[in-house]
């Protein structure tokens, strides 16, 4: 929660710092039909983010690499201003987002089940994970017009996933350390190497939740008469995994930001 507060504060400070330069009239940049009018915004954006436990569990010792996967968002929002400053918006943002990460872990509990067979224990070494998600986010936001050209919005959203992938493998780290202690930290030590990495079972995506709830924060800056520069942050509040999925012991949340251009009417 603290992180979210920080993010909101950062956003406001950032927006306020640029406000001073604004000398434009409210009418010039207002909704096309008038200050209390409505309209639509069509958005094209680049999505960047990750699906992560918050905070990172102590088992994660080092993040060696991170790269986004996918990263496209196409959306349409409708908005309505009730006063000069306040309004609401809602819409649909279709996305393809994901990431790939490479992290060193220590004593990371794994519980893998396939067709009734279970392998479990504590893994130390390098863990590589990739996930991609295709879906649509439906936000319902309150909009505050800070200045003629600046809007900020926040509110809940619901994401529906059409398709999800989650894959990865484990092997030894750069120091050559990679092993599973079977069942307990004093169980049989089974070595794992990058020459013969051990993949995650392919049933992980079946264990992912088809919906997610979260909070969206957004800003719009009216760059031209009908064009916005926008940024939005979708902060997932629900675990991506089924409640009874034991392979990953911590909750993981999707946190993705989108930046892009929008046509505003």
């Amino acid at each position: 929660m603290k992180h979210i507060l920080y993010t909101i504060v950062a956003l406001f400070v950032f927006a306020a710092s640029t406000q001073a330069q604004e000398k434009d009239s409210w009418e010039k940049w207002g909704p096309t039909p008038g200050l209390k009018g409505g309209g639509f915004i069509a958005r094209v954006g680049y999505v960047l983010g990750g699906t992560t436990p918050i905070p990172l569990p102590a088992e994660v010792r080092k993040v060696n690499g991170f790269s986004p996967r996918g990263g496209i968002s196409l959306g349409i929002d409708g908005y309505k201003m009730f006063t000069k400053r306040w309004g609401v918006s809602t819409g649909a943002h279709f996305f393809w987002e994901g990431f790939h990460t490479n992290a060193d872990v220590k004593n990371y509990y794994v519980w893998l089940e396939q067709e009734g067979e279970v392998t479990k224990g504590y893994f130390t070494g390098t863990n590589v994970t990739s996930t991609e998600m295709w879906g649509v986010t439906l936000p319902l936001l309150a909009t505050f017009r800070m200045s003629p050209r600046w809007n900020v919005s926040a509110g809940p959203y619901l994401s529906l996933y059409f398709h999800q992938t989650f894959s990865g493998e484990v092997f030894d780290n750069d120091e050559g350390i990679g092993y599973l202690r079977e069942d307990t930290p004093i169980g049989t030590k089974i070595l794992m190497t990058r020459e013969n990495p051990t993949p995650y079972p392919d049933n992980f995506p079946e264990k992912m939740q088809p919906v997610a709830l979260g909070i969206e924060f957004a800003f719009d800056w009216k760059a031209m008469k009908h064009m916005n520069v926008f940024g939005l942050l979708d902060w997932g509040m629900t675990d991506i995994w089924d409640r009874n999925f034991e392979a990953i012991t911590f909750k993981m949340y999707p946190i993705y930001a989108t930046v892009g251009l929008a046509y505003r009417y």
Binding site: T7, A58, E117, L191, N196
Partner: protein, 403 residues
């Protein structure tokens, strides 16, 4: 709006999410290596390298073997344990005193010392024993009826007692590896099992069966497990990364083997599959049984222990006896549909002579400079995860004859 600001907007949450928490204390508590420090080890041990033992994770009873006439007394004992862990020596009345690696320990009269290693986080501990025993001279000839077996400590699979002249006196096989892939398997579902009353004389025998390793086996591209039985060490830690090397074969032996006689019976699985699980046309599965005699030290005095990869090809091999098979011109195994091993589904006693390619040095032999290895498998290509699921090799009443 500048690019930097945009980047900040995206980066802030990511940075917040990527804080690395403080490292937690280690939970492991292993003895990884044990060594004894002697001025002239060769007066006590058969090899210089015998003073140092690397301890695999499944081993808790560490035994050093010295010459039958040697008497070891106070000797510095060095233990390498998991980082952060602490080690205690347990006295007979159960009290524990911290043990400082390198302290002298009196190993006379084959006294067994018990140790407890406690993890850095204090939540886990393991008990070990360390002892020095005298070599037991063997007569050379052996008779093994595979009647002495019991479940392992986990209760998951069977283990067989082997002659005392072999270190830790148990037969080894791939059962511990099969346990990793098929947690649901019952003791009789494992590749190496006893077969009560199924021997040629109506007594118990051993059944080696090539088994499907299930979904985890497919994931690791190790789709089958051949039943096996050998003497040496099965280093289960390497079972996933280097399965052939995990099979460490052979035990030092002071007699020159001449021949083995063994009763065998074979039921062939119907479809021979390659490592990828694809059926191979025109090839049938074959059992394997061999005896290998090899020099267990190289020119620099390093330990030589053959493994599943070089047990039949290593240049240190001096003598070899094996069931007959077809071979390619380069000496490698030739898959075929007309095997010549002669093992049928009726019990037969086979005589396998050991053919020597080098002269045995009597002094080296006496000083345990050669090792003997027995190997057997329900699928002769099982080390490469090829064979026919369901192939069964029954074995009983092994006689070893030495010079």
């Amino acid at each position: 709006m500048s690019k930097t600001s945009l980047f900040a907007f995206v980066a802030v949450p990511l940075l917040l999410a990527s804080c690395i928490a403080a490292e937690q204390d280690n939970t492991e508590c292993d003895i990884e290596e044990v060594s004894l420090h002697l001025d002239s080890p060769i007066d006590f041990f058969f090899h210089e390298y015998d003073t140092l033992q690397t301890v695999i994770s499944t081993e808790t009873d560490i035994v050093f073997t010295i010459r039958s006439y040697a008497n070891i007394q106070s000797v510095p004992l060095s233990l390498r344990i998991t980082e952060g862990a602490s080690i205690y020596m347990i006295s007979e009345d159960g009290t524990e005193t911290p043990f400082l690696s390198g302290s002298s320990v009196d190993f006379s009269n084959e006294k067994v010392y018990r140790f407890r290693v406690v993890s850095e986080d204090k939540a886990w501990s393991r008990n070990y024993s360390i002892s020095v025993v005298h070599d037991k001279p063997s007569e050379g000839n052996l008779f093994i009826d595979y009647e002495s077996y019991h479940l392992d400590a986990s209760g998951k699979y069977y283990v067989w007692d082997a002659p005392e002249v072999f270190p830790d006196a148990t037969w080894k096989n791939g059962n511990p590896g099969f346990k990793i892939s098929k947690s649901s398997a019952k003791p009789m579902d494992y590749p190496s099992t006893p077969a009560a009353g199924a021997g040629p004389d109506g007594s118990d025998c051993v059944k080696l069966e090539t088994c499907d390793t299930g979904p985890f086996g497919r994931m690791a591209n190790m789709r089958l497990a051949s039943g096996s039985m050998f003497n040496g060490i099965f280093d289960v830690g390497n079972a996933l990364t280097a399965p052939l090397e995990a099979t460490l074969m052979g035990s030092p032996y002071t007699h020159k083997p001449i021949q083995v006689r063994i009763w065998l019976r074979y039921e062939r699985g119907s479809v021979f599959q390659d490592r990828d699980g694809k059926p191979v046309e025109g090839v049938v599965d074959e059992p394997d049984f061999y005896i290998v005699f090899y020099r267990n030290e190289d020119a620099e005095g390093n330990k030589v222990q053959l493994n599943g990869g070089d047990i039949l090809t290593n240049p240190n091999i001096v003598g070899l006896g094996r069931l007959p098979h077809h071979y390619n011109s380069d000496g490698s195994d030739q898959l075929s549909n007309d095997p010549i091993h002669g093992v049928t589904d009726e019990w037969q006693e086979f005589t396998i002579p050991v053919v020597y390619t080098s002269v045995i040095d009597a002094t080296i032999l006496e000083n345990k400079g050669y090792s003997i290895a027995f190997g057997s498998a329900s699928s002769w290509q099982g080390g490469y995860f090829a064979g026919a699921i369901g192939s069964k090799l029954y074995m009983d009443n092994l006689h070893l004859y030495c010079e």
